[in-house]
Assembly symmetry: C3
Homo-oligomer: 332 residues x 3
């Protein structure tokens, strides 16, 4: 933590405008509900204005149209949430682990580590691995041989980079013949990978995670995938093998992307949605089956297995109706 | 294992009533199919009565209405499955790891450990962590700095407690700015957490798992969540950030709960169900899309993308019908 | 890597027929796109013929009907993909870790290890574990006490074998009573298990993974399951407790199989499909809810909660129609 900064000092570093006392000292960030004296909080949505009235924070970050909603000292800016992120970075480090190699880590003699790399307890870094400057591997990360990490990469505990992809050929007896996975994983600068996430090495070529990609916990990236720069995926999402995803995409939690697909830039996939074919057009895509109380679900879902038949019956009714009253029929 | 106990000794400790020889010695529990001589088994459902006829167990736990279904020595009780759990605890320890810190574990000097805590091989316990008496961390668990565990907490291998939540703000160029995650995780007494499950630290405040919560393997709990006391979740379930779940809820495997929701006490969510909005009323909720043979699925599912149109066509038919024969129309 | 082999030497080992120069030396395998000089690639589908024209590989494996599609030296065979797998095994080892126990691993004195077993950094092998000859545990695998692994088993980093199953009985107050999990896990020969996959020990009897089963990353196998020989599951699939799956089945990624079910041999379950009841007949089964652009999805999915009503309305229309014009009605 960087000691106190006044609101005036904060806007001189990050922009925006102070309303109220620019000498208000700030020592930390906090939530509307629990911020203590000396903390700055933020208002990102009008929905939270009632909480604003009760906050004990010393100052608030908010947008121009919310400026009048409090008499607390405040910073007025275009994007309160983004501004808040930057203020928090003034007071808090991005990682909580000091540079250096923990004595319980196993780092191959042939690994190449940049400046200020941090390798946590129990990590295993294989032969020929390259890790760029400023990267941080939290405890118990495994990086298999040959993989490459850029600079300022953060890998959370339990992540596994470069395990074998799932490559099998079936023999005539129905048994499985393993295909050696001789590609690697290449991870760009400023990538963050969540706890227990797995990224498989390529079968022949490499699996590639471009710069600025953010992957949450327990994500699975299959072999030969390419994830474009600045794409973000929430927890438990998975991408099957050989799928190429564009830049600046977002995937909600547990989104599932099948294999051998192509998804263009600027695609947003909702949580829990299964993407079963390529997406050629930017936009938001969803496929969540609605939940209901159990009895209603059972009653409605029983119809799903008869939908084609139902459509056929409606067609028959329409035809019958047309036969009787063609002039009135208007098919949508 | 505690040596043999007679049926009489068991009921004197746990209640219930013996039918048959109360001197029957019991040394272990077993399944109907594979229990050996000296083992006690249980009958929890009439469906398994045929297996009961063939069992080689020395005794059976069953309900009053099933009392006559065997001539084996038996314990008659209200809840055979619950009773069986308690009998098994007489013969088997709750954890298989002795108290103490394994020499390969990395425990911060500032961590506070209660009496009889067991820290397995390769565990990593960060700065300022508190672990209550009788807790057991199986091998390779990571607890990030600042987190708090109650008493008798069991964490299975590979669990990660307190990794950063997935907090990002988007800048004007579409890049991601990391929001330091300065909350912690607080876990109550008697919580059990499965293998490779991840529970993220809060962004600003804490992620809270209340007492008696049971989480199976590979569950993901996002930052700022609160899981109410005695709620249980089966494997691969996930809760996105800032969702608050009540007490005494159950979640089937791979149930997915979106973020920023509130779920009241005594809600049961079926396996593989996506909860996309808050639940204000106790009950059972389901949202499983039905599987079918592939050809039938393809035929029926093609209609899903036309459901709104289909409903519109039915409305048109109804309107047309009403125009022709209003007296007969009865809309449900 | 085994040095160079000529095409003639390859076919003398693996069968097939050379077209072109049998003296062409091969040193490695590669993809159509990126194979370098000295590499052999393969054509498994006519879709990739355009890539074949541009490949820089020295030779190609292909089927008889594609023989004329290139003038490169080639091997003609019945199953190019399977043949390619076998060629790759000539040039590449199946695992990248040397036999022996890494000094940072924790192996119980009572564990029994076969010949040439490889135990990676940070692995933990519990009391009474048996591991068959030639097996390879990559870094940070945990095998709980009592579990048995066959020969040539490969466990990828972070896999957890034999953690407690999720066995709980509910007491009268709604609290959970843990059922000690006294079974183990038995894994057959030639099984491969992906990174961070978890296989729980049985509650009373054993969880069994038969020979030749292939499990990808982040799969969860519940207690008491049996997975039949040569069955393969892609990443993030999960099987709830006490389900028995036959031999030679395949499961796509994130397929979810509920508990206490039976699935016969030769069943193929598509990715992201929820299997909610037993499958008695071989075949392919699917249950993917279709995704759509968000607006279309919202419009169509709103109808799902009214499907039973819609079907009822169609029935009413049909009845009404029949009443008016019975002779013309034809119900499908």
């Amino acid at each position: 933590m960087a000691g106190a900064l006044t609101l005036g000092e904060i806007v001189s570093r990050l922009g925006g405008r102070v309303a109220g006392d620019p000498g208000t000292p700030i020592r930390q960030v906090g939530s509307l509900e629990n911020a203590a004296d000396g903390a700055i909080t933020f208002l990102s949505s009008p929905r939270h204005r009632d909480k604003l009235a009760a906050t004990r924070a010393s100052a608030v970050i908010l947008a121009k149209d919310a400026e009048a909603s409090t008499s607390l000292p405040r910073i007025v800016c275009a994007s309160p949430y983004l501004y808040f992120a930057r203020v928090s970075q003034l007071f808090n480090p991005l990682t909580s682990q000091a540079p250096g190699i923990h004595p319980s880590a196993t780092v191959s003699a042939s690994a190449r580590l940049g400046k200020d790399v941090s390798i946590g307890a129990g990590c295993v870094v294989g032969d020929g691995v390259t890790i760029g400057a400023g990267s941080c591997l939290y405890p118990r990360v495994v990086v298999y041989g040959g993989c490459t990490l850029g600079e300022r990469v953060i890998l959370h505990a339990g992540a596994v980079i470069g395990a074998d992809g799932f490559g099998l050929a079936q023999d005539d007896a129905g048994g499985w013949v393993k295909i050696p996975q001789i590609g690697t994983v290449r991870i760009g600068d400023d990538v963050e990978v969540g706890a227990n996430t797995t990224i498989d090495r390529g079968a022949l070529d490499d699996t590639v995670i471009e710069q600025g990609v953010k992957l949450d916990n327990q994500i699975q990236i299959g072999h030969n995938c390419r994830i474009g720069a600045h794409t973000a995926m929430a927890g438990c999402a998975a991408v099957a093998g050989s799928t190429h995803i564009g830049r600046h995409c977002t995937f909600g939690g547990a989104a599932m992307i099948l294999g051998h697909l192509t998804i263009v830039d600027h695609v947003n996939v909702s949580a829990c949605t299964v993407i079963s074919r390529s997406i050629r057009k930017p936009g938001t895509y969803t496929g969540i089956y609605p939940f209901d109380d159990n009895a209603s679900w059972a009653k409605n879902t029983a119809q799903v297995r008869h939908l084609a038949q139902l459509a056929e019956r409606v067609r028959a009714l329409e035809k019958h109706g047309r036969a009787r009253a063609p002039a009135k029929e208007k098919k949508k």
